[in-house]
Symmetry: none
């Protein structure tokens, strides 16, 4: 069962969040209410090793230019790159300021992504959304929720759309089937929605990874059934599906199609885009946009 | 002598102000770096008498629709109308939130326009600029500058472009040649610039009104010479020329042409637009846009 | 009697004020502990009429370039011009941010110069000093002292040198011999010193204007005697002598010589410099610097 | 592949950061956009044992005098020495106030460098930059990033350049190849850049230390290739290469040459300078400056 | 090598710290720039067991009277005794308010001395200095430095001299040669100096305790060489040598002589004084003062 895609005006957002999401969804990319984001915080999350496949991608200018040429709806940056590079592109492409982030060096067993910037700084930079990584299920859940709550309240006060990277993570979820299971992703979707995400970024669920997951998730689900359920769990939090590490094109495009079919609003593919050679990146971005063009939604209420 | 029109990136603005101005100047209206705003705060400033010429204009929806249909770069509202009406149009047309305003009922001898909303409220509403009326030369200058300073600092902190309605007003300027003289308008332009306006809204100067003005302004200036000087006095504060009360079309369009020739960035015409019948309003707006199309400027530095 | 010129290290300043004054006094201009500032806030204080004598001077870039070419120790700007123009010259020439200022349109009878910027903004802009106009003797003295006190405390907290424009002004001093008398200027010097100015900007005293002044000032003083006394009244507040409105060169240079002879630290000449044609401005600046070169002072304690 | 060295004006810094960096980079040392800093916080970090090689270096006055004589671009001090000693040299040589620091006595397994001073104190002292040690990859990452974020925000608010000592440290990086590997240093460079360092201080990378590092870093890299990549990872954060503990002169100078060739902005050598006898220190500083003189960069945008 | 003893005015202190230290150093005790303090916080640090040797010393009045009779330069109290007893002696003898302190009951492995009073309370009580125990090298270093930083900033803001009890303590220093080694005391002296102590209280170093200390400290040092180095490490932080637990008189007086010879400013002997019978205490105090009289220093700069 695929899900209804609500109009932007029907999400209970205030004018500011709506204005900013309208710009992202209708003034850029396919311009039809869908979105395709280019995330570029892997230099922090994984380190520069992610740039070895295409050294040009080490340059923020190269990547922002790619987002412009490739018709993306926005680019995702940490505060440092946003301050040093976005001024040259201010207003040309929406900025999503990622507010937290960490290196992969210490253990992820009690993962928590510390805050590196504030919603007010995002406003000052002219960003159209902020991003926050919530490590769903982490043993550090209390500190994570506490930190998140303040970000959510600031985003509400300043009319700034809040995109939650809802990532199952930590020793506890590893003991319950791992971070990619249908169970884990579905739970992450719902958690973000329950806690007030305007948009939620999710990994594609793997219903076949069902060892040690709760009984309800041990059934024989197709990936379409799984993604349908996940988007339903997110309800009025718009869903973005993450590309993750670089994979085969056909598999990626099929995941993208199933996600949009399920009612997702869009895609957020980074390494799958900029770890290729320049023109190859644009060809792949174009293939993604072709999919988005088939799934328009409305801005105003019907 | 006409003035050079600087690129948006060369004005010393931070990324946020630049992003918001870029949206106004390049994503709406003529899209060439010029702007045509539809101001709609006369219901407070003059009272509903301004709507008697075209009663339909009493409706904020009518006027915002007009701004959309007429291809304006933004609509200017006080907080009440912004809260009640902008959510239906959020993101479709830029909002300029006018932060201060007053009725015309008490005397203007010591004019001061009190604050009715904050920059933070403008951010929350998704506005792309804020407006502030500075009554240049008012005997209440100390209170006005003090109030303005806080607005300017908030606008800087939140990356919000600040449009200053620089209006000579009060008993002192009346005793020195009146509020429309070349002297008064030129001084107002410079005052806004010295005090940090990103954009300054000015009335067209009248060099022929030169009784009681300082000696330098008693010469025989053409209106083109006067507007050239005024735009020069504003230097890196972008200039918008105000329409003022409704006047003959040819005179208005000639003022518009001379202003753009002088290096102004655009026009802010309200009553001259919406005090007409609907289609007539659109025809006039179209004539204005035709002028703007001839005066493009750049976004990025050259 | 001429006065001893103290070393910078002997003024009881903290490290920050000392570091910033050292840069102004020893890294720019004559580099010998003297200073020659180019003030450029007349566009606000008097309006653009001051630029009619040399229209090029309406451009802040022209004037800052002049300060660089003319070997000035700093340029004085209001917040608006500082934000829009100083970034292009950041670090090349010291910035003095003038914190208060007003138009000349309303009456000066109870003069008060409202605050347009803060010491913290001066720090953020990289300024090396701040300026504050104290209208000595104004009937609005209470509000003026109160406003000044906060600026002084902020300047102390942030190690920012505070230059006080100590200007006798208002109806009361007009009734006691006028703002230019030896009495008025001497009292202004002492007031700034008593209230904590690090540097005080003064007009040259006119001992011959001695009608209605207190008895002590009715004697037959030479201008050298008067300026000697004024500098002595300022004691450890370094003295800058103001040029005022444009006057004959010989008279101006003679005033400059007498001031330096009296122990002043330097000069702050604006209209006398930039109301001339470009090369003529540089020639005059060079004549001023020749005088300064004869009056070195030390940085370190003896 | 060596990297382009951007002009100071092209880094997206505000006026204050630019003014202060301009002073450091163009008014001191080689004066050509490069920098050579003399760090002097080892008395805290390692204890007085570092002074046994040259007991004179125990005296802050000796070391600051050495920085002046040796033509360094700045001296790095903790708050205590800055307060007790910098006033004698205020303005003569730029001060970098190191804001955090710790003794080496407790274990470094979960290293965190506590804050000993604030950005506001640096402003009050007249410092031209602040320093912060970020222990990249430490298990105490959350507390470190949190503490750093506030310093970064204060530095932005006050226009103070932020130099990040980006040091891989702690048990996790020890388990992944150690703190000096190409992987560790490259990741540290990128982390500082993603988190908004204006300048990043790095140790020279050791590509040959490639046991247990991620696959991408196990290749056969020359030291030039490694330092090239590291400077590229830092993109618009200017790079300073650290001297570390005293080593052979030829090796040190070769590292310096390779660093500058790779696009670094300068060097920060402490023990290699002041652990020598006085004249020998000056000879070594002179050799470093000769290298810097060959790698000029611009201040204004091209 | 003995060290130069700087004049009070050459330490970079502000007027308030200087005025209060001047009272302590020149209006009390030997009155020649030296100091001899009577510390009396052992009732908290060790408990009343310290009073069993001389039960009269259990009474704060007895001890303060002893300080007066013995010609001490000040008495050191915790907040409780200060509030209940100092009012009777206010102004007769300088008060040093010890701001932190703890019982010896819990383990010292991760020692941290909690704050029991504030600098503002010290001002309110009329104290002439405050004391803070910094446990150098404690595993709780981060919390200790953080707590200390606020005390230091308050002391700066209020012009209150800050005496740091710089005590190596905790499991880490125990594993590196123990808290009394030359290495530990030397590092503690330097740490206090780097972190802004105005005065540092140190134990006499034991160069013979050199097992497990860093290589530089394993040499064959006399106690005079060690104390010379320690005072040098403290540079412009005035040094007070602590008596520690009661020991033989000749040994104590020899330590005192060597300390003053090394450039220390004075002594802080508690149990060695008041654990004796009354007249014996006075005789010992007199012997100490005789030593201090031979080591005068200046107040004003030379």
């Amino acid at each position: 069962m695929s899900n209804e895609r609500p109009a932007l005006a029907e999400l209970g957002l205030g004018a500011g969040k709506q204005a900013r999401l309208h710009r992202i969804l209708f003034d850029h990319g396919a311009g039809n209410g869908t979105a395709m984001f280019l995330p570029y915080d892997q230099g922090l999350e994984h380190g520069p090793r992610d740039f070895f496949a295409n050294p040009a991608a080490s340059s923020p200018r190269y990547v922002i230019d790619l987002a412009l040429e490739g018709g993306f709806n926005g680019v995702v940056l940490q505060i440092g790159l946003a301050e040093k590079f976005y001024w040259e592109y201010a207003g040309e492409i929406p900025l999503v300021l990622k507010l937290n982030g960490k290196t992969e060096i210490p253990s992820d067993a009690s993962a928590l992504s510390p805050l590196n910037a504030t919603v007010e700084e995002a406003v000052r930079l002219g960003a159209d959304a902020v991003g926050y990584t919530l490590y769903v299920g982490t043993p550090a859940q209390e500190a994570d929720f506490e930190q998140y709550r303040k970000v959510r309240a600031d985003a509400a006060r300043l009319g700034m759309p809040l995109i939650v990277w809802a990532y199952p993570r930590g020793s506890a979820i590893e003991a319950k089937g791992g971070k990619d299971s249908f169970y884990a992703v579905d739970y992450a979707a719902r958690t973000a929605s329950e806690l007030g995400a305007d948009v939620v970024k999710l990994n594609f669920p793997h219903p076949e990874k069902n060892l040690e997951v709760p009984g309800a998730y041990t059934g024989d689900f197709t990936s379409q059934q799984a993604i349908d359920a996940v988007v339903r769990s997110a309800n009025r939090s718009l869903v973005l599906i993450s590309g993750g590490s670089k994979a085969g094109d056909d598999a990626m495009l099929e995941k993208a199609r199933e996600s949009m079919e399920a009612g997702a609003t869009g895609l957020i593919f980074g390494r799958n885009v900029w770890q290729r050679e320049h023109d190859e990146s644009l060809r792949f971005a174009s293939a993604l946009r072709t999919i988005l063009e088939k799934h328009p939604s409305q801005s105003r209420a019907r």
